[in-house]
């Protein structure tokens, strides 16, 4: 069950290549009109090595990893009733098109409260050289399972 995973680090995900067109597509979808996200010449002129991914872009590859973990029946998480409670990003440097990043998930904390479970999952994202790029922390909330364990002997 989920409580057994708290404190664990999951195996690193396979590398994710940040694509230029994906950055453009994401920027368009969130209304980010900054030229450094869509125009390569503008990005280079501003001193960036390639297009700048918008600040929340990393969810495109961190949330699916979290979903895969939480949908695993062995984890025992009620995915159908889950809501996203909080999200934070720390960007150690901008994420760029062309970056090939590896994400490692950490199961940091599980708090039961008022019939719900609050799970903190942390994605550490590093570049091909192993240097940290960003940290994305998601708080996921779902219904707690029936409390039968408390009365069983």
């Amino acid at each position: 069950m989920i409580a057994e995973y708290v404190g664990r680090t999951l195996p690193p995900a396979r590398p994710y290549l940040v694509g230029r067109e994906k950055v453009r597509e994401f920027a368009l979808a969130v209304g980010e009109g900054a030229s450094v996200c869509t125009d390569l010449d503008a990005a280079l002129a501003a001193g960036h090595p390639d297009l700048v991914a918008p600040p929340t872009f990393a969810v495109t590859f961190t949330i699916p990893l979290m979903e895969a973990f939480l949908r695993d029946p062995a984890v025992g998480w009620d995915y159908a009733h889950m809501v996203h409670g909080e999200q934070s990003f720390v960007l150690h440097r901008p994420l760029y098109a062309g970056d090939e990043v590896v994400t490692t998930l950490h199961v940091d904390e599980l708090r039961p409260r008022a019939g719900s479970l609050f799970l903190t999952l942390r994605a550490e994202v590093a570049d091909a050289a192993g240097e940290p790029v960003l940290t994305a922390v998601s708080l996921m909330v779902t219904a707690a399972p029936a409390q039968s364990a408390e009365v069983s002997t």
């Binding site: 979808a29 969130v30 501003a46 918008p54 600040p55 929340t56 949330i63 720390v90």
Partner: protein, 142 residues
């Protein structure tokens, strides 16, 4: 004010952003989040929602435009966090809903060789806040 020399208490230029079903579908494709509650009214109502709701991450990204438009370069954002407090219900019409975004500089700090502004952001629909503790940290131009 400009982003060149902000100080605590400075207000950022407000944003008013319209959000329609088409925006939700576009974000679903761009983000890979195809959860049915974000585009399928039948399913959303079936799980007890008033209607289709926007992705929390879309709302967060839109609210972040307040800061990236102010600073000019999204690459200057060094941190961004928010709590999702109220679903943004998006009706199936041409009007959609309007997200009102405001923000205030809370602090400007020297951190090593860079200066960082901390901006508190509010995002509301019809006068009700939809994000809490939304805070962005941006590197200021040297």
């Amino acid at each position: 004010m400009t982003a060149a020399a902000p100080g605590p208490g400075d207000a950022l230029p407000e944003l008013s952003l319209r959000l329609t079903r088409a925006d939700l579908v576009r974000y679903a494709g761009a983000s890979g989040d195809f959860n049915l509650i974000h585009w399928n009214e039948r399913f959303a109502v079936g799980v007890g929602l008033p209607n289709v709701i926007a992705h929390g991450m879309l709302t967060m990204a839109l609210a972040g435009l307040l800061v990236t438009r102010w600073i000019g370069d999204p690459g200057a954002v060094v941190g961004y966090a928010a709590r999702f407090t109220r679903p943004v219900v998006v009706p199936d019409d041409d009007e959609g809903v309007t997200l009102e975004v405001t923000g205030t500089v809370k602090a400007v700090d020297d951190e090593g060789d860079i200066r960082v502004a901390t901006v508190a952001i509010t995002a509301a629909v019809a006068g009700k806040t939809v994000l809490a503790r939304a805070t962005a940290r941006v590197r200021l131009p040297a």
